[in-house]
Assembly symmetry: C2
């Protein structure tokens, strides 16, 4: 246990189910739970799994100390409380690596052990994977829309303070270049960015009125010409003129945060070039999402600052994955209530591809069978935890980022379209095909 | 300082601005920043301020210890780092109480002090207030749609694990009855709820197949007839029959989590009544939002379990408030770039009302003037912090909840409509009227 306890990031019903199952003996049954999404958010063509490493850390820290036991003893019997005092996950977890793509029905994580030890993890597992995957999935669309241009995540102020840190991490996995969030830099090693806001220009107001030149001079004196000057506090043309007058033509960048960004980027590019600042970059920000990023493709923009849309999942703030019991003592189990059917049994996945590497299907098969013998099939399901211990060292942030980039490179071209559509590849359940 | 440091929940640019402002001497200028929303989320008629108490706690814990200083010294000069080592907010904060309603332009918080001490707080203040207010604003619409019926927040799994705790708190302020989140109960005292999931029924599967009766019997034995039995794992009619057969007619409640909830609620109510379980309540859950809650008004539903929509703000996952510098050394300052104008100067608010108590306008005036002399004007702006110290004891969760309920009771009837519309009352800036 390397962090504070995650044991109370739990819905009460997991604990009351545990109490009843301990009392009737079923808590000890060997059980398998599966994390999957019934569908992708409306019109999305793929999803990106993020949060797996945070999930595994949270499970390591899922322990009941004195504080946690005092809380649960308010509504649980003493036998259950003493069972919780010794809690430590000792089961197995397999699933998708951090940064892997997923599709409807993909068994993203499979958690096996006793019912008691697995049922408790539902909420914390889903909270992490639903949040982080929602952000990574939206961010990846922005990355593909930006076509190699720099993307800076600056949405911390638009989401919960801790969610902001996880969002910065997920956006980096998706391919963002940097974050404004200092804690994400410290905790996860995400590259940092950020120079100044309108407040700094406004601060340089005196009895004679606004003094943009004084603000720019101060910023250049403190941080050198490698900084970015924000030129739209007052008049943009004057702002650009002041910026180059103060910093000279070696100024790294100017930022435009309002107005018609495409029109302004062209005007500012012309002006910068006329002033000899041909290498000075243009950063744009202000309510950008994947669509406006794509719409700016033809404009002379070097970098995008993206806030609200990335940290709120651009219309899909949760990945909507569920954690469902699929097998008990080797017997597949499945809910039969309307519209929420689940497929029983523990599962594993290969992703098939053409010889070119372009993927063709997500093939889901019974975990107790051998992988199907398909050409170019890549095994997606990895052993992550065995007997409560990690089977390998954690996937680093850079590896996760490479996983996402590699996954995107294998999608058929229509899978990268921003418009609403079907999932980029079909999901096939091998059992269904064998027994139609 | 009662918690862990919040100092790195900060965008890097706040720190680089500080460094430049310390170097040129402007960091010491007396400054006022204002937190406000330019507009409400699309079609909303009011907003609910939540997170104020969390903001004040976060400011108390905004301190740079060794870890934080090591991080910022990677990109800041030694003078700035040593200034941060002594950081402690010593300014003033005024604003809206936890649970108060707000409208476009309402100066929700006003933070005054030196530029250096105030500029650093932008991100952490906005993260908290934007998240918590987004949840409270959405939740309040559900509360008014539920018209007194019980609402249980059960969305933890659909949002970041820490955001879930704050969301449970915000939903309770809005008028929700309880939360499934155990940590929210521990940390904030929100009432808890939760009994069982489909997994518990599925667990009771043996060689002979599903055994719903065994699952219900186990739950009743462990928790008594005061529990809620989930009746839709297999066939709902059989589920209800099994529930009453096992628990008897004194069963507290059954839950339906799928299907056409209105139709099913009527069928289940008839069936329960026929079985003599006339006092057994019906809880419904499954993708509910304010619109589906309202649509179920005529049905025999006793309680709603609400998940995704409440924790994601029901289409508006952030309140979109900003933190803007409005005054420096007594001089009002304002950005003039297109579409993002701000109004300079420190402000305060009264809300005017008819003799009936129904509110008529949000009246914003200069904080340096006396409150306008309007009939039934209630002073909204409160002194919260003076010289870095709280001016009063924290607003309790119950008081915040009463603030929201009291606010809703004063809205004109059209302000409570769920449909898209204009803000329930207009925002008037007194300066504008005096100097048109």
């Amino acid at each position: 246990m390397n962090g504070s306890s995650t044991a109370l990031f739990t819905d009460q019903y997991e604990l009351t189910m545990l109490a009843a199952a301990l009392q009737d003996g079923t808590a000890h049954r060997t059980s398998t739970f599966e994390v999957f999404a019934r569908r992708l958010p409306d019109g999305r063509r793929y999803g990106v799994v993020a949060g797996v490493e945070r999930v595994l850390d949270a499970i390591d820290n899922f322990r009941f100390g004195d504080d946690e036991l005092a809380t649960v003893s308010k509504f649980l019997d003493p036998d259950t409380v003493s069972w919780l005092a010794d809690y430590r996950f000792t089961g197995n977890i397999s699933g998708y690596q951090e940064g892997e793509l997923y599709f409807p029905g993909s068994p993203v994580l499979t958690v096996s052990g006793t019912f008691g030890e697995c049922v408790l993890l539902e909420t914390v597992v889903l909270s992490i994977i639903n949040h982080d995957s929602a952000i990574a999935s939206a961010a990846t669309r922005m990355v593909s829309a930006a076509q190699g241009r720099t993307l800076i995540e600056m949405g911390s102020r638009r989401t919960h303070e801790e969610a902001a840190v996880a969002a910065a991490r997920a956006a980096y996995i998706a391919g963002f270049t940097a974050t404004s969030n200092v804690e994400a830099a410290r905790r996860h090693g995400v590259p940092r960015a950020g120079t100044s806001a309108h407040a700094f220009t406004l601060l340089h107001t005196d009895a004679d009125g606004p003094n943009e030149v004084a603000a720019f001079r101060s910023q250049i004196e403190a941080h050198g010409v490698g900084t970015t000057l924000l030129v739209d506090t007052y008049d943009i043309t004057t702002g650009v003129e002041n910026a180059i007058a103060v910093a000279g033509p070696d100024l790294n960048a100017v930022r435009i945060d309002s107005g018609d960004l495409g029109v302004l980027a062209r005007q500012v590019r012309d002006q910068l070039d006329r002033l000899g600042a041909t290498q000075t970059k243009i950063v744009v920000s202000g309510d950008l999402d994947e669509y406006s990023i794509a719409a700016l493709r033809a404009e002379p923009v070097d970098a995008y600052g993206v806030g609200t849309s990335v940290v709120t999942g651009s219309g899909a703030p949760t990945a909507g994955m569920v954690y469902k019991l699929v097998e008990v003592d080797g017997i597949p189990v499945a809910k039969r209530s309307s519209n929420k059917e689940t497929k029983g049994g523990a599962k594993a996945v290969v992703r098939t591809a053409r010889d070119s590497g372009v993927v063709t299907a997500e093939v889901i098969y019974s975990a107790s069978s051998a992988p199907p013998n398909a050409p170019n099939a890549r095994i997606i399901t990895q052993d992550l935890v065995h007997g409560g211990e990690r089977t390998a060292s954690p996937v680093t942030l850079e590896e996760a980022r490479q996983n996402t980039a590699a996954g995107l490179a294998t999608l058929p071209w229509e899978g990268l379209a921003l418009s609403r559509g079907e999932p980029a590849i079909p999901t096939r359940f091998i059992d269904e095909e064998a027994h139609p």
